[in-house]
């Protein structure tokens, strides 16, 4: 076992709604080693964003433990949390709405430094801004431009620079390239990977794009209605998917090649409601293999081969 940076135990986040309790994140546990990337995949509404945000305590978890470098941060008070946030950052999905339109590039990157009271000297701080711009590949001449003058790729670079400003150890990347064109997407993915290697960062990479997550992550967790249904090293998950949902998800990726086409597994229906789920397998209603046990008893995430976890009654 390597150096564990993050350990999440039985994390739950429920929201009260007029129609019942919405189980956005329902009993998730995992550990993440320093310098590694965990990919979190799933379809809209499966709770991946809420999971990422509760780990940072941007939404308050309902219950569970989040150990960051051994410290349970769910018990940290406001001041301690402020300190911890320097180490734990977030990159947002939409570079169009996550930046203040009235702040120039340098002001946007400077903001977190100012808030943390780092670099009290103006010149030092500006030097750090330029350094960060260099790291993320933003030209120095753009220092006084506003977000609306820049394209999506450059805006996302600002978002990354802001996240890096405090020298964090851990970043939750919430669909960082989904809003970008493919040619730009590749630039940003390469940049994030380089930065990770240089600075030894640990990522949670949230996405719905399986080809991107495969490229980017060491391990992948597949989420369905607030739960992990399968978790395995990336290569293992792609070569030997076990959960019926993972199989369908993988086969649904349109492959940009005329050769080695795969057999498509179509799953019927659509994601069901996460409000007051019944105590059964949450995928059972859409699953071709479901039997009475699946409809009566919730499967537990179990290790079927080293590091390969799956929650399905049908996998022996």
């Amino acid at each position: 076992m390597g150096d564990v940076l993050l350990e999440v135990k039985n994390l739950k986040k429920y929201f009260k709604t007029p129609r019942g309790v919405l189980h956005a994140v329902d009993d998730i546990s995992f550990t993440l080693e320093r310098g590694k990337t965990l990919g979190l995949v799933g379809e809209s509404g499966c709770g991946k964003t809420t999971c990422g945000r509760s780990i940072l305590r941007l939404v308050e978890p309902t219950s569970g433990e989040i150990r960051f470098e051994g410290e349970d941060i769910t018990k940290a008070d406001k001041n301690r949390m402020r300190e911890l946030r320097r180490d734990m950052q977030l990159i947002f999905q939409d570079p169009f709405s996550s930046l203040d339109p009235r702040k120039t590039v340098s002001q946007a990157i400077e903001e977190p430094l100012e808030l943390a009271g780092l670099f009290p000297d103006n010149d030092d701080r500006f030097a750090r801004v330029l350094e960060l711009m260099k790291v993320v590949g933003l030209d120095e001449r753009l220092v006084n431009t506003y977000p609306h003058e820049l394209d999506g790729g450059r805006r996302q670079r600002i978002g990354i620079a802001r996240a890096l400003a405090m020298n964090p150890k851990f970043i939750v990347c919430d669909e960082p390239v989904s809003a970008l064109d493919v040619s730009i997407q590749a630039q940003i993915l390469n940049l994030m990977k380089e930065i990770q290697e240089q600075l030894g960062l640990t990522y949670i990479f949230i996405t719905h794009d399986l080809s991107v997550v495969n490229h980017f992550s060491d391990e992948i967790a597949v989420m369905y209605l607030g739960q992990f249904v399968e978790k395995a090293p990336s290569e293992e998950l792609f070569e030997n998917p076990l959960h019926p949902y993972t199989k369908a998800l993988l086969s649904a990726i349109p492959i940009p090649s005329l050769h080695n086409r795969r057999q498509r597994i179509l799953i019927k229906g659509e994601i069901t409601s996460p409000i007051d789920p019944k105590p059964c397998c949450r995928f059972a209603a859409r699953c071709d293999y479901a039997d009475d046990r699946c409809r009566a008893e919730e499967p537990k995430l179990t290790e079927v081969s080293p590091n390969h976890f799956v929650a399905c009654h049908q996998v022996k």
Binding site: E43, V182, Q185, N214, I255, L266
Partner: protein, 334 residues
């Protein structure tokens, strides 16, 4: 050779504002034969949607200009047709599915009424007959007919997109323009909708223009593909031509930017720089500032069309000196 449903020649479209001219589409040719599907691939701002809107005669009148070109739809030039004629064509000969199913439906009208409305405009049917047709169309796209009395908010995203497909196909159009129809959907739902579209295309023999940025979708539903960059179609061919014998550096760059699902160790090779501002396009070949093979003449003149075989052409100076024989595919490539 089958009949051509759509034949676009030398089309130029510009948008004008107070001080700027946006060069959205710059001299393109585009053909779709009956029952065939053409994929139009390109990044944001390449001019894909503008091209589609011109086929419907839906370009904003005040802000757009079409200085040259013809758009022949079923033998008639839509650019010169009066509004009254256009209205007869829209939804009947040609219809369109938009990217965002959430905002393309009327929230205060039942989906059945919305489909029936289209039918009644084009065909002499009573209200009841039109509603009956609406129900049949819903069944065709896999939605139970009795849900026709429900409102859009009662449907999920994938279902809404099915409703829009039902609406688009209600009058059995000859040509369907699909503008990123699955971009807003999750992968498993996308797979369902693509499967549905493939089936319907066969059933109704509808020709289709599939606008997308995803070569994966092209591989699944298209017969031919045009790659668009900065308002130009820079490469065009059958799927085999473009996927296995791509010639244009931009096409190559797009493929290299995609993560390879079978080889996760392969490094992504992005295209440097970013897409040009259509107000201020680079001189010569608009791709030259980002092209790794850029030569001196690339910034000076736009390349000539080079026909590689009957179905495959490319606009790139790299092939100016290449002889016909050299351009043909060799055995090793395939």
């Amino acid at each position: 050779m089958a009949d051509k449903i759509l034949e676009i020649r030398d089309l130029v479209i510009q948008y004008t504002s107070d001080k700027d001219v946006v060069h959205a589409v710059n001299t393109i040719d585009l053909d779709i034969e009956e029952g065939k599907t053409l994929g139009l691939v390109g990044e944001t701002g390449a001019g894909k949607t503008t091209t589609a809107l011109s086929v419907l005669g839906l370009l904003p009148k005040q802000q757009s200009r079409v200085p040259q070109g013809t758009v022949m739809l079923n033998g008639r030039n839509v650019l010169t047709l009066p509004e009254q004629e256009l209205r007869k064509i829209r939804g009947n000969t040609v219809s369109m599915i938009f990217q965002d199913p959430m905002s393309s439906l009327n929230p205060v009208m039942t989906v059945g009424d919305q489909i029936a409305e289209v039918v009644k405009i084009h065909e002499k049917l009573s209200d009841r007959e039109a509603l009956q047709r609406a129900k049949e169309m819903l069944e065709t796209v896999g939605i139970p007919g009795d849900r026709s009395v429900e409102y859009p908010h009662q449907f999920s995203g994938g279902m809404k997109q099915r409703v829009l497909i039902a609406m688009a196909l209600a009058c059995n159009p000859k040509l369907l323009l699909a503008d990123e129809p699955t971009t807003a959907l999750d992968v498993t739902i996308q797979a369902q909708v693509l499967e549905l579209m493939r089936g319907l295309k066969k059933k109704f023999n509808t020709a289709m223009l599939m606008i997308t940025h995803d070569f994966g979708i092209v591989a699944e539903v298209c017969d031919e593909v045009s790659v668009m960059y900065a308002g130009h179609i820079v490469e065009h061919g059958t799927l085999e031509d473009v996927f296995d014998h791509k010639r244009h550096p931009y096409t190559q760059g797009l493929f290299d930017s995609l993560p390879n699902i079978d080889d996760r160790r392969s490094k992504l090779k992005p295209i440097k720089g970013s897409t040009p501002d259509p107000v201020n396009l680079p001189s010569g070949c608009p791709f030259h500032p980002r092209c790794e093979y850029c030569m001196e003449k690339c910034s000076k003149s736009f390349p000539e069309k080079r026909q590689i075989n009957d179905t495959h052409y490319v606009y790139c100076h790299l092939y100016d000196e290449t002889s016909e024989d050299q351009l043909k595919y060799t055995e090793q490539e395939g």
